[in-house]
Subunit: 204 residues, 2 copies
């Protein structure tokens, strides 16, 4: 009388993919609080022990999530940087784009959940970027002028904290300032910010 219960059986790689993608979606949607194994399982149409089977523990899943988000960010930044005419002023929109689609928010939220995981995973990304950008700035400098290494580093630091701050609190702060929220407003800010940086680059 008892029906045989049908099951989907995936390859481990596929199962991990499914879980990670579902989890990323949920983090982006609900913030760091919304990362309950039950919820992920429900959304993915699986049972929650399956997550533990593939990732060992909740912490293991978190590590995998941050690792994935950090890798994605790095890929996007490197892609933006390898454009022929790259400069942080001219291509700032691409840099912010690299943080878009909830990516920075995900990373930031994951950093809140697991303060030690994010640094480990993002380590040295910024250093690589600083090296590349600085070389470009030096090459682009007028023959007589010099570009201080420190200036490049702080420039990147500013863009990084601004991008994170914008991703986390941009909308809230705009609302608090009485500025209309939304994508268009955020874009206007990016444009303004790019101008500020271009100004800075231009004068030395």
């Amino acid at each position: 009388m008892s029906e045989a219960v049908r099951r989907v059986r995936r390859t481990p790689a596929d199962a991990k993919r499914l879980i990670l993608e579902t989890a990323q979606t949920l983090v982006a949607r609900n913030g760091p609080q919304g990362l309950r194994l039950q919820d992920i399982a429900g959304e993915a149409g699986i049972s929650h022990p399956l997550i533990l089977h593939h990732f060992g523990s909740r912490a293991g899943l978190m590590r995998a999530l941050t690792r994935e988000a950090a890798a994605e960010l790095k890929d996007r930044l490197v892609a933006a940087m390898t454009q022929p005419d790259y400069s942080i002023g001219a291509q700032l929109d691409q840099v912010f784009d690299a943080f878009r689609g909830g990516l920075a928010q995900r990373l930031a939220w994951l950093a809140v959940e697991d303060p030690d995981g994010a640094p480990a995973n993002t380590a040295l990304i910024l250093r690589e970027i600083a090296d590349t950008l600085h070389a470009r700035r030096v090459a682009a400098a007028t023959p007589g002028g010099t570009v201080a290494r420190e200036d490049t580093e702080w420039l990147i630091h500013l863009v990084a904290i601004a991008a994170f701050g914008e991703a986390m609190y941009g909308d809230q702060l705009r609302r608090s300032a009485g500025i209309a929220a939304g994508e268009e407003s955020a874009h206007r800010f990016r444009t303004w910010f790019a101008g500020l940086i271009r100004e800075h680059g231009g004068r030395r």
Copy 2:
């Protein structure tokens, strides 16, 4: 034979003070995760139901905490702004100081815990600041020049997201960039940032 158990009996105001201050300390030290009623109670030397007695629920405590932190931030910013020679470039250090001592971190963390509480409590703070600053910039402008209102707003927005981003991720990002962490490094960045903004103000 049974000893009478001695108890401390406070006024409601004193009890709330004690609880709020202990909680603020713990948030600053351990992040948003470290806000368990048991922990607060243990640290304050009271029992955890006392917190519920005075604040109704954990959510009530969180609201009180964000309200307090937001009020503190506003006070510091207003104090910085009412200095006679206030301008966001010249006094940027004071603005960042207003965010220091874990205040921005507390606010940011509380915002993560209770995304709706912070906006309600910080509403219009930035608008006030924008009004004041814009008036000053207009007054300080050279007779022929004009200062766009939007420019002032974006300037404040940048400082705000940078201050939050710095408070939340500054040290992590500096480490990730291979820059030495610590107060001195953070100060050097503030100085550089102030210069950037002063440059911008000077050219229009």
